[in-house]
């Protein structure tokens, strides 16, 4: 009998598989087709202080082994998420969830995190300082060690739950940013968010996406994500949630060997709504095949 349990900042997950923010909504679409309680946890749709429509459409472009999105943090705002979305999700999902918070100023991050911290069903707060879609927004916080430090510090000052900083890969040195978050008191690091990318339509000769550029995700970015998880594991002493193109149980195991304690699945949910379920079912089989007894023992095993 293999053991798929992992412990993340004191929170024991039945398995390390977590759907990534923005690819799972608040879970209802998936609750219709399978029992989402099999998931290790759920990283909820990115939340901001005010409601947001997001970017103009088209927001989606296809790529080889991936896609670009520029949804732009469409969400009903922190108040509605606390009063409507989380209670609705609690009817379907009985385990602690990961709240995902974005903001456009240090104060906004602190405001939303302080509010979400009081929600019982939230186990971890994931702070997105990396969304590449919003002009003058999250991007700038995640691209400088100084501002990443400031956001972390401000959020930690008003919260009691574990805070994971979600990093942008669009930086010169990911290690420096991760280190700054750790020094400011972060309990963990989530990485990577999407890579900034674009596509041009050959017929119209214009960018496919209305916002011109967007975040590139999918299997194509897996090696980049893996490399960054590996580098950050060498740099910090706090747990890592690894993500970026994870599409199979083998990817989960590889991500854990690089240094991840838990793993998020993003783009795969959009092309196969059963992706997380399949990965969770596949995991014990692959573990047996690879003679892995305890998944937890794998973390950072390649270093």
């Amino acid at each position: 009998m293999v053991n798929t349990k992992v412990t993340l900042s004191g929170l024991t997950l039945d398995n390390p598989v977590i759907p990534a923010s923005g690819t799972f909504g608040f879970g209802y679409e998936f609750a219709d087709i399978y029992d989402i309680n099999i998931l290790g946890s759920i990283s909820c749709k990115g939340t901001t202080k005010e409601p947001r429509f997001g970017n103009p459409t088209p927001r989606i472009a296809e790529c080889t082994n991936g896609l670009i999105n520029s949804v732009g943090l469409q969400n009903p705002g922190i108040n509605k998420i606390i009063s409507e979305e989380l209670p609705k999700l609690s009817q379907y999902y009985k385990k602690p969830v990961i709240a995902n918070i974005s903001g456009f100023s240090v104060e906004e991050y602190a405001y939303s995190c302080e509010k979400i911290d009081k929600c019982e069903q939230v186990g971890i707060i994931e702070v997105n300082i990396s969304c590449p879609n919003v002009h003058n927004g999250g991007m700038s916080f995640g691209t400088s060690a100084k501002s990443a430090f400031e956001v972390t510090k401000a959020v930690k000052a008003v919260t009691t739950k574990p805070v994971y900083m979600k990093l942008s890969p669009n930086v010169t040195d990911i290690k420096e940013i991760a280190k700054a978050c750790e020094e400011a008191g972060a309990d963990g690091i989530s990485l990577i968010n999407t890579l900034l990318g674009m596509r041009i339509d050959l017929k119209t000769r214009k960018p496919v996406i209305a916002n011109k550029m967007g975040g590139f995700s999918g299997p194509a970015i897996f090696p980049v994500a893996l490399r960054m998880v590996y580098q950050v594991y060498d740099t910090v002493n706090i747990p890592i949630i690894g993500m970026g193109g994870v599409s199979s149980a083998r990817d989960v195991i590889e991500m854990m060997l690089a240094g991840a304690t838990a793993v998020q699945v993003g783009a795969a949910n959009l092309v196969d709504p059963f992706a997380c379920k399949k990965i969770i079912e596949e995991l014990p089989v692959v573990m047996q095949h690879l003679e892995i007894e305890n998944l937890q023992d794998l973390i950072g095993g390649s270093h």
Binding site: F24, G25, E29, F30, I33, T57, I60, V271
Partner: protein, 244 residues
């Protein structure tokens, strides 16, 4: 929504760049005309959303236009090849509001979802009239299939090479009274139909989608009733909620 493996029964060209494919498999997830399927294709990451033209207990018929590499690949699929589909996506048309004499208005590749709608309207005792608009005569398809259902069909072509010369709205005066309308087609046609019609109606929208089942917020449309996902809360929106 259901995911399943479907087998190509036939896949034939019916007009310039337009193909009709019949797929066999589980159709139990389809609950209304105007819903769509999302098709996984080898070598492409995202699925292709295509409206359902017709369906019965065992088969789904889709009519699609080759507009890019994905639909190009689809056009080359042979019978017996297998496809991974998500089926029963979107809200579809609501036939309960049709009244006795609904009008169906289709433009180009927006025509297909109106076919099963027409059958269901007839089955409930309504008498639909149909306007189908195309650019030119060799792009015309489906007109005969509608006629075979026993409904009156008005065909328009922009260049006048067949039927009434002009746009679908140019056929409106010939139709006479109608109780309600249903439409699917390109955005400029939608705006013309919106302004030219006297009754309420339903519009089936098209948008670039990520997932096709409401998870990614890639296809959001702003309406008078708030943000709607074209894939999940749509593709059908009612006239009164649309903001141009």
């Amino acid at each position: 929504m259901k995911q399943g493996i479907y087998s190509v029964v036939s896949n034939i060209k019916i007009a310039k760049d337009v193909y009709k494919m019949i797929l066999s498999g589980d159709t139990s997830a389809i609950t209304a005309p105007g819903q769509f399927v999302n098709i996984k294709l080898d070598g492409f990451y995202l699925r292709r959303p295509i409206s359902i033209c017709d369906y019965d207990e065992t088969n789904i018929t889709i009519i699609y236009k080759v507009v890019g590499q994905g639909t190009e690949l689809m056009s080359k699929l042979d019978p017996y090849q297998k496809l991974d589909l998500l089926v029963g996506l979107g809200n579809g048309f609501d036939i309960s509001t049709s009244g006795d004499k609904p009008l169906l208005i289709g433009g180009g590749v927006g025509v297909p979802p109106l076919y099963n709608l027409c059958k269901q309207l007839l089955a409930k005792g309504a008498v639909p009239n149909v306007i189908l608009g195309f650019n030119t005569s060799y792009e015309i398809f489906a007109a005969k299939s509608f006629e075979k259902l026993g409904v009156k069909v008005f065909v328009t072509t922009v260049d006048g090479s067949s039927g009434i010369k002009g746009f679908v709205t140019d056929a409106l005066p010939l139709v006479g009274d109608y109780s309600y309308f249903y439409t699917c087609g390109p955005l400029p046609m939608f705006k013309a139909v919106y302004n030219a019609t006297a009754t309420s109606g339903q519009f089936s929208f098209e948008e670039r989608m990520g997932c096709g089942f409401g998870a990614c917020m890639g296809c959001t449309y702003k309406t008078k009733d708030g943000n709607k996902r074209i894939c999940k809360d749509g593709p059908v929106l009612v006239k009164e909620e649309i903001v141009w």
